[in-house]
């Protein structure tokens, strides 16, 4: 069963992503949530999700740090990480790419883009 981790410290954003992906739950998608960076890293290690929507500005560990840890240090294979953040500057996208992220989406995002991306990857 494919798994998607939603990591964001904003409850409304988590809820929005959950509602966006709930149609896919009927198709067998499992949704896991995390409220901060450290929790996200723990969830990635334990659940090995196929895809992660990772907020950048989170307490305890930011998204860049979590992404870099997963991709560069732990070298967990097969996890597709999308950095999802309010930081819209292109230079931040470059930082995201350097941390090993597969994609960088800026807030506000289009829910349809989220669904399409999940369908494309999974």
């Amino acid at each position: 069963m494919p798994k998607v981790l939603i990591a964001d410290d904003e409850p409304h954003i988590r809820l929005l992503l959950e509602q966006t992906l709930e149609d896919l739950e009927d198709e067998g998608l499992e949704i896991i949530v995390a409220e901060n960076g450290a929790e996200a890293l723990k969830a990635i290690k334990e659940n090995k999700p196929d895809m992660v929507f990772l907020d950048v500005m989170m307490p305890k560990m930011n998204g860049f740090e979590v992404c870099s840890e997963v991709k560069n240090n732990l070298k967990i294979q097969g996890v597709y990480i999308i950095l999802l953040t309010a930081k819209g500057q292109e230079i931040d996208k470059l930082k995201g790419m350097e941390s090993g992220a597969d994609m960088y989406m800026t807030k506000p995002f289009n829910p349809d883009d989220i669904i399409n991306k999940v369908r494309e990857i999974l």
Partner: protein, 491 residues
């Protein structure tokens, strides 16, 4: 000439007198006293006395003239002395003034000669770098540091800066026409930071000493550097606070907007897909209300997007105005920037089913400015081109032009009307309706792109016709430039 008889006590009885004249005035009388009588005095003696009288007169005239000339010379010397004293007094005042200015400067000042030895400095220099006071006052000898190599006193970034000046100017046969301002952020004592600026110093080739700056640039010899250092710790802290504020605002505004837009879109989708089909379409009132709900949800989402775009522009402008962006001045190649921008936007091309076409001139000169900012600009314009094109090819070209390098991005979108094109680069342009397809821009706002391009001396414009696509062009300066004007005066 007269003669007479005199019965002097010595028994001399005859004498001869000749008037001693000067300037037709009788000054005195030359007397010849003789034991002989007038008749016995021969003519030769009389002639001698006459000659003597005339010569003495001339001598007196000459002496008087010399005395007059000496008096004039004395007066002139006294005037010169007075002038000299006045000049010395003015010089002392000027020295005192300059000394006071240099001493009381908040910025540190160091002047080094062509051998990188310190020839002048101020007190801020010592305190800013927390240097050993023993270097300055030892056995009543202030300025012991004078003559020491700057490398033996300081280290780190400032030495790199000095080396850059010497590298550019020490070879007198290759002195560049423009004088470059070398600038670098450096660490000061006590964990503080500063900005050091160094400029080359020149002297006349014939100048006796190294302290004679020249204005004639054609006859100059590099003789060292003038370095000033400003403590920017507080400025950096303020910038950091502004940066934190902008980041916080960015997050604080965009996060709720994400919810507004996202939930309204989900609600719209669920309403139209799941609720609307179940509504009794025979009831006109219900039909009208359901139509309004659908329309209202669309409006909330669209206006939310417009607001998000506006917030992005405001935050970008705030970053620039707060000085947070920093204005790097570096030479770089355009080609890697274009390749990198195309790579990062490749997924956008794929999503829209568009293709990209590059036409980059070979051997383009080095561009000047901030390569990160130009990357942002190129990516933003490419993103805009993709956004406004539904099919076809987006062409990107780079070529040499009169003002440097011209970069062109041509899309095959709906185009822009002439009157809208004129307002496209305005601050806070209305979002959503600038383009004929009704969409707004993404990434950096065009006003921000324009601001950055103008800062570095370039220009940006658009050539467009409705339904025939748009061609954005902007220029990037090339080659060596002196320091750019401060960003504060641009917006």
């Amino acid at each position: 000439m007269e003669s007479g008889t005199d019965k002097s006590p010595s028994g001399l009885k005859e004498y001869i007198k000749a008037a001693l004249k000067h300037d037709f005035k009788n000054l005195s009388v030359i007397s010849a006293i003789s034991a002989s009588s007038r008749e016995e005095a021969d003519e030769e003696l009389i002639s001698l006395i006459k000659t003597l009288a005339e010569e003495y007169g001339e001598y007196i005239s000459a002496a008087e003239k010399i005395v007059g000339e000496l008096a004039e010379s004395k007066r002139q010397i006294e005037e010169l002395l007075e002038y000299k004293n006045l000049q010395e007094e003015n010089l002392m005042k000027s020295r005192g003034l300059y000394s006071a200015i240099i001493t009381n400067m908040a910025d540190a000042l160091i002047v080094i000669d062509g051998d990188k030895k310190i020839i002048s400095f101020n007190s801020a220099f010592a305190s800013m770098f927390m240097l050993d006071p023993g270097l300055f006052i030892k056995e009543n000898c202030p300025g012991l540091i004078l003559g020491m190599s700057i490398e033996s006193v300081l280290g780190g970034g400032i030495i790199g800066l000095v080396n850059n000046v010497f590298k550019s100017y020490a070879d007198t046969s290759a002195v560049p026409d423009g004088e470059k301002l070398f600038s670098s952020e450096i660490s000061l004592g006590g964990g503080r930071t500063g900005r050091a600026m160094a400029t080359p110093m020149f002297v006349k080739p014939s100048a006796a000493g190294p302290s004679q700056p020249v204005s004639d640039k054609s006859a100059r010899i590099f003789s060292g550097a003038v370095i000033t250092v400003r403590d920017t710790t507080e400025e950096k802290e303020t910038e950091s606070m502004k940066s934190d504020f902008i980041r916080l605002m960015s997050h604080a505004l965009k996060a709720p907007l994400t919810s507004v837009i996202g939930f309204s879109e989900i609600a719209h989708k669920k309403f139209t897909e799941s609720i609307l089909p179940l509504i009794d379409t025979e009831d006109k009132k219900i039909k009208k209300i359901s139509g309004q709900i659908e329309g209202n949800l669309s409006i909330i989402a669209e206006e939310g997007k417009n607001l998000a775009s506006l917030i992005s522009d405001v935050l970008d402008i705030a970053k620039i105005e707060s000085g947070n962006t920093g204005w790097k001045e570096e030479n770089f190649s355009i080609r890697p920037l274009i390749d990198y921008s195309m790579k990062l936007t490749s997924s956008l091309f794929q999503q829209k089913g568009l293709s990209g076409e590059l036409e980059i001139e070979e051997d383009l000169p080095e561009a000047f400015g901030d390569k990160e900012k130009y990357t942002q600009i190129i990516m933003s314009i490419i993103s805009n081109a993709i956004k406004h094109s539904n099919e076809g090819t987006i062409k990107l070209a780079a070529e040499s032009c009169e003002n440097g390098i011209m970069i062109t991005v041509a899309d095959c979108g709906a185009g822009i009307t002439k009157e809208k094109a004129e307002k496209l680069f305005d601050k806070f342009r209305p979002g959503g309706d600038a383009f004929s397809d009704g969409s707004s821009g993404t990434g950096l706002g065009l006003h921000v792109c324009s601001h950055i391009i103008k800062h570095y001396g370039g220009k940006i414009w658009v050539e467009s016709e409705e339904s025939k696509g748009s061609t954005f062009r902007f220029t990037v300066p090339t080659g060596f430039r002196s320091s750019c004007k401060p960003h504060a005066d641009v917006i």
